[in-house]
Symmetry: C2
Subunit: 208 residues, 2 copies
């Protein structure tokens, strides 16, 4: 839809292309829809973008998105302060929360190690995680510095997620922390015939 009739339209299409998974045709369709059918939606979106950019911070405890210094989950004194579950994204945290099976705290990496994409330990919250779990005591002090006794690795079961889990595991074991990983196994409701062999093999080894 790019035309030489409207620079503002071209600029909007180019801006929309910065969204993940949106190419030229999708961006054009989006711009057309907003300008032809939903100008109030476009204004709302502009406002929401500006507000989010200025107001959304990272929680100083768990690194997730929040508008306060410490997010409401980390502020919740009812939660088990000794367990810390490490996830890649806020969406993963939400999935775990919806199970209702976990009452501890979280740490959100906001990414995963992915050397092929140039994403190394400094690009995700690894140092912040190590500092959160096992902060180094200031020189001369000798006090208990963290109440976390178990770190549960809930990064995805992809190549990058497994790598990330491995690196965290190595780093934390060196600091004397108990590190566990979500169980691998056959998903509920699935038929063995259609489950991949690696999963079945893991389920056999981890049988109970």
């Amino acid at each position: 839809m790019s035309t030489n009739n409207s620079n503002a339209l071209d600029a909007l299409i180019q801006a929309l292309r910065r969204l993940p998974g949106v190419g030229l045709k999708s961006a054009s369709r989006m711009a057309f829809h907003l300008l032809q059918h939903d100008r109030s939606g476009a204004q709302l979106m502009a406002q929401a973008l500006n507000q989010a950019v200025t107001q959304v911070l990272h929680c100083s405890m768990c690194n997730t998105f929040t508008q306060t210094e410490v997010c409401s989950t980390c502020q919740d004194s009812q939660r088990d302060q000794t367990r810390l579950c490490v996830v890649e994204t806020p969406a993963d945290q939400q999935a775990l929360e919806r199970t209702g099976a976990y009452k501890g705290l979280y740490f959100v990496l906001m990414g995963k190690l992915s050397p092929l994409d140039g994403i190394g330990p400094k690009d995700i919250g690894l140092q912040k995680l190590f500092q959160r779990v096992a902060p180094r005591a200031a020189a001369g002090e000798d006090r208990p510095v963290s109440v976390v006794t178990e770190v549960i690795l809930a990064t995805n079961f992809t190549a990058e997620g497994e790598t990330t889990a491995h690196v965290i595991s190595e780093g934390l074991k060196a600091r004397g922390i108990l590190v566990t990983r979500l169980a691998r196994g056959v998903p509920i409701g699935s038929e063995l015939e259609y489950v991949d062999l690696g999963t079945i093999a893991h389920a056999l080894v981890d049988r109970r």
Copy 2:
């Protein structure tokens, strides 16, 4: 990714869901990407949205998006003023322009008749088109009121596009204008075996 930690984040996700083809998961992924990796892109997008909403108008001649009263295509005196090609969207106009085979003017409906979606003649530029092609002379006047001698219907070859073409055709023939339609036929590069029967039947009838 929706959390109770950040109202600004939730508002952004809800705003992004107004884009066509974007559901909750896509909107969450987009918001995550913008806030984690591309805050400057988010600001740019907000700016582009506001500028487009305030600056993009409809051309008074052809109804397409433009920032001036009359778009540059309609202002081009090199173009054949007697031919007018009717398309559904600016994207369709662009496709025709890229062929280089058409030197006349355009009229962009900005939609198509779609009774099932509640889109009638008043929701697209039909009246504006009739006024453009065959304006009614003011009372008492008896002058030639339009130079358009041929209207080429280039709406899509879908059910809605064909309906739209039919309605325009009836309306303009009543006003004594020559109305033509893009030829239906076998696309270049295709093998007959894989072309649908309706297309082959049309190509047979319209053989030359």
